[in-house]
Amino acid sequence: MKKKKNGEMTFIQKVIKYRTLLLMCLPAIVFFFMFNYMPLPGIWVAFVKYNYRNGIFGSKFVGLQNFEFLATSGKLLSLTKNTILYNLAFILLGNLLAVFVAILLNEMQSRMFKKVSQTIMFLPYFISQVLVGILVFNLLNYDTGFVNGILTKIGVERWQPYSDPGVWPVLLVIIYLWQQTGYNSVVYFASIMGIDGEMMEAAKVDGANGFQRIRYIILPSLKPTIVILLLFALGGIVKGNFGLFYNIVGTNPILYETTDIIETYVYRATMTDFNFATASAVGLYQSIVGFVIVVTVNYIVKKIEPEYSLF
């Protein structure tokens, strides 16, 4: 009935009838227009030889020249490779550890222990990336680092991670896990809590041991959550974790080879070199690839579990 009535109204009539609801959305509409839609025309800077005086639209059009340089120098490839490989490690190991922690937490009997340990594991998520960088530096630096203090004490040679690019893939993954696992495990812990208690009891009565309960009840019921979260995470695989990399590696060129991701490169190109054309070319490339991946992932999710699809 109501639907039919709406269908008969013209656009203007709808606007007038729902003006209050529209006005309630207006601030958000203006916000996203100002900060997310207004920058879009500026993408043009990726196709020009940018000149401050002439501005984005007055500078000379050079076609795909900015992209050509990035592609032929191999820069784009190495940035993409670093970004994707780090994200793959973050996503796979992150979810693995999160599931592992959630399952173990669920097996604990003491409520107090559960609560306290969850609170502590959540702590690293609440601090700023700046502090994460400081914590890591405090642990690992050559002169006064905590780790080197221990190494010296046990008579082992001091370790210089800040001039050794090879160790950072491992270190960054560990730091990422350290910061995110408390957060990631919450979703899994909640879905374990949601498992039918009677099913667990029945399994216990039937003599299923702990491993069997995990293998045949908990893991299968977590499967949909794991699949969906993994797929969503894969949708963002070309988006790097700028805060983590920038605060830990910073502007230390020795480490770029193994730690430079798209975001850190774009940031330096913009803020240090003022090379807006190159920065924008890399950014546009990232946005397009990211968009294609999200749409693909969404298509897959829709096939598996339509109600979880994003759009």
Partner: protein
């Protein structure tokens, strides 16, 4: 009767607690304890270092527990004084940004969840699209500095953090749980949409407001990124975390630039001052977070599945 059955089952299960359960439990306690210790040790080291004498740090490196407690570093920070202004700025940004952002997000979330609102799909997509495709940093930076002229303005920090498509979706999911009949009953009583929202819906959204408000507040408290983009050295007072970033990097810069000159660097407590700044900048959020943790947890579980 039912209770008695439950008890029986419980005790039955306990009797059957086999070796495998013991192994899992034992391993679980050991692993979780170890993991929790790993989570907390870096914080302990930072606090210890902030109380340690600079000479000791130089000689022995940072320690898990301080050997000799000194307040020297904190005295230096207090004497510098700048950090209190950063505190004030961060508190103002956090309070204003969270309040305004929360108002807009909750209004929008409610309107977009109204089943009779014909524009809801269009507007939802308009907002959601921003998380799918973005112009990237360079066009954003040029727009903010050259078109909006927000270079060195606190608005460049305040505005962009006010909302995100994710938070609006999260709010929509919370509103979804409120039955549509509430709105209907308000309409029958002759209340307008805004009136319905403020007097009927908002009171039921308290947990949602707490959760989303905390995400916003955490974003403002931990903000350093927009500051690093838009606040140059011309701005004397910067948000807390970015001040911390500058303190850490400036001390290093000092060390490089004046090495071998007239300043005796061993006299300047560097490491301990950095750590005292870190403790002061992080302290409030760490103190507060055990009390607000449950709201974050509800936010993560509600937000994990998109609606």
């Amino acid at each position: 009767m039912a209770n008695k059955n439950m008890d029986l089952m419980d005790s039955g299960a306990k009797v059957k607690l086999g070796t495998s359960d013991k192994i899992i439990r034992g391993f679980g306690y050991a692993f979780i304890t170890f993991y929790a210790i790993c989570c907390i040790i870096p914080f302990v080291i930072i606090v210890s270092t902030s109380f340690t004498n600079e000479v000791t740090i130089r000689a022995e490196g940072v320690q898990l527990l301080p050997k000799d407690i000194t307040l020297e570093a904190y005295a230096m920070v207090a004497k510098g004084g700048g950090i209190w202004w950063s505190y004030l700025l961060t508190i103002v940004l956090t309070v204003v940004g969270t309040f305004v952002g929360l108002s807009i997000i909750s209004m929008t979330g409610y309107a977009l969840q109204r089943k009779d609102f014909p524009f809801r799909n269009g507007i939802s997509f308009y907002i959601y699209f921003t998380s799918l495709f973005s112009a990237g940093l360079a066009p954003y930076y040029l727009l903010m500095t050259q078109t909006y002229h927000l270079q060195d303005s606190y608005f460049a920090v305040l505005l962009p953090l006010m909302m995100s498509s994710w938070l609006i979706i999260l709010m929509k999911n919370f509103v979804k749980a409120i039955p549509h009949e509430i709105t209907e009953s308000g309409k029958i009583d002759g209340a307008g949409d805004m009136r319905i929202f403020i007097s009927l819906i908002l009171p039921m959204l308290k947990p949602a407001l707490a959760t989303i408000g905390l995400f916003l507040a955490l974003g403002y408290w931990n903000e350093w990124y927009q500051s690093s983009l838009f606040l140059s050295s011309k701005v004397a007072v910067k948000p807390l975390q970015y001040t911390l970033y500058e303190v850490v990097n400036k001390v290093d810069a000092l060390k490089n630039s004046v090495a071998g000159q007239f300043v005796d660097l061993s006299e300047i407590p560097q490491e301990s001052v950095k750590m005292a700044n870190a403790v002061l900048a992080t302290g409030p959020i760490v103190m507060l977070y055990p009390f607000v943790q449950k709201y974050f947890i509800s936010g993560i579980t509600v937000g994990a599945v998109k609606g």
